[in-house]
């Protein structure tokens, strides 16, 4: 018997479990695979405030940004507060970027075209300018998820936070029949009883919801990443992306959209994204997508032309039609809470999601109004 059962050992599930355990609850995390084996394991580790329109998601991102810095202080995983540089190809785009930065009210520096190379010496010539966001950061998401769970287990009393991998949830235990309060989960390893159940199954959150007889419209939005050879001298200092990334993130199109996103990692590799397309859970390589990613990256950093791609992988972002995550208690199913549907921002938004959900579970007032993220908006 746990106070809370968290379904999903990705970074969001790990954060929910961590903050719930910190609040004194007894938590069990279940995952059908290993820790961080789903979308968390296919992410770049973005902790971004720069790409968010003003509104509830930006508020969530700012809270999360602060929490990530606190969590990183515990150590055990890579966290780089290196800042993000959004660049504009034309003067018109630069004016739009500056206008957006003004509305966001986030710490930033407008960078004129002539000063871009002070930030990124290898950036292409001829760009109109950019905006630098010092709060943008990068985290190694898999290790972060695993370490959060470990740190939670060690900090809040052994037995307070348990991870069970290789356990597949097959249904819910309900009080007094199908419509009743959730009292636990059925799994392929037997029933597990809990006071509340958190659906942190990411892209598969809709499938978990369906087991409770409700609909969550979460769809996979595929993204490819190219990984270069490890490069001895760091060529790229910040997370660098083009303005098109912001519009692509906010787009509803099912068709392929790509934008140049380039960043180095502590291991020396350069990660190159980002593509978005809704094609279900199809892992088949798309060479035209890889070609576009390569072209966009070398347009930003011509020095990358001589560097080799050694790997490519794809992942499935949990996409909601309104681009907002689903965070909160489900009004249709007492005892079931959701923490999923973060699309491509799950790594960045995980700590705030876990923190707010833990406040909700503890019956406290939440630091942010959860209404915009309410599961009830789909009811």
């Amino acid at each position: 018997m746990s106070d809370v059962i968290v379904i999903g050992a990705g970074v969001v599930g790990a954060a929910c479990a961590y903050y719930a355990a910190a609040a004194g609850m007894d938590v069990t995390v279940l995952d059908r695979g290993p820790v961080a084996g789903g979308t968390t394991g296919a992410g770049e580790g973005n902790v971004l405030v720069s790409d968010k329109e003003p509104g509830p998601e930006l508020d969530l991102a700012l809270l999360s940004n602060r929490l990530w810095r606190e969590l990183a202080a515990h150590g055990g995983f890579e966290y780089e507060a290196k800042g993000g540089l959004v660049v504009a190809e034309t003067e018109q785009i630069q004016r739009q970027l500056v206008a957006l930065a003004g509305k966001q009210g986030v710490e930033h520096t407008v960078v004129p075209g002539g000063a871009l190379h002070d930030y990124e010496p290898h950036l292409a010539q001829g760009l109109a300018g950019g905006v630098f966001y010092p709060q943008d950061a990068q985290v190694q998401p898999m290790l972060a998820a695993a370490r959060l769970i470990r740190h939670g287990a060690e900090s809040f009393g052994h037995g307070a936070l348990r991870l069970r991998t290789g356990v597949t949830v097959t249904g819910f235990l309900r009080e007094g029949g199908d419509g009743g309060r959730v009292t636990g989960v059925r799994t392929d390893h037997g029933d597990i009883i809990g006071g509340a159940v958190v659906n942190a199954a990411g892209t598969w959150g809709g499938e978990i919801a369906a087991m409770a007889g409700i609909e969550l419209p979460i769809l996979p939005r595929r993204g490819f990443i190219l990984v270069t050879e490890p490069i001895a001298e760091p060529l790229i200092r910040h997370k660098v992306y083009t303005a098109a990334y912001v519009t692509n993130v906010a787009s509803d199109s099912a068709d392929l959209e790509t934008s140049g996103v380039v960043e180095g990692t502590p291991s020396g590799t350069v990660l190159i994204g980002a593509s978005r397309e809704r094609v279900g859970f199809d892992r088949t390589i798309s060479i035209p997508v890889l070609r576009r990613l390569a072209a966009q990256a070398t347009a930003l950093f011509p020095v990358l032309r001589d560097k080799r791609v050694i790997r490519s992988y794809c992942g499935f972002r949990p996409y909601c039609p309104d681009h907002l995550p689903v965070i909160g208690a489900d009004p249709r199913v007492p005892g079931l809470l959701h923490a999923c549907g973060h699309e491509g921002a799950g790594i960045g938004l995980a700590p705030a999601t876990g923190h707010l959900l833990a406040q909700l579970l503890a019956g406290e007032r939440t630091d942010l109004d959860l209404t915009p993220f309410s599961p009830g908006r789909f009811a």
């Binding site: 050879e229 490890p230 001895a232 020396g268 001589d306 560097k307 080799r308």
Partner: protein, 80 residues
């Protein structure tokens, strides 16, 4: 029959058809790269292009597998 290439400026004799890596090994050079973290020496290991231990720069072209690249007269090989 044999010809010369240079490795970091030093001449190395090559029998035609030999790979750059084989020529280096035959010349008594068993390692020509160090690892990023531990600074460990690396040379040939798998010999067939699988392990990437033997990387060199050939005529300015970076990250070539020395075991796969057939040496040509006058090749300039640099190591890291």
């Amino acid at each position: 029959m044999s010809f010369e290439i240079t490795v970091d400026g030093r001449p190395v004799r090559v029998t035609p058809g030999q790979s750059v890596g084989a020529a280096l090994h035959a010349a008594g050079i068993t390692s020509w790269r160090t690892t990023r973290h531990g600074g460990r020496p690396r040379g040939l290991f798998c010999g067939i292009g699988v392990c990437f231990d033997c990387l060199v720069t050939v005529n300015g072209r970076e990250s070539q597998r020395a075991c796969l690249v057939e040496a040509m007269p006058g090749d300039e090989v640099t190591t890291s």
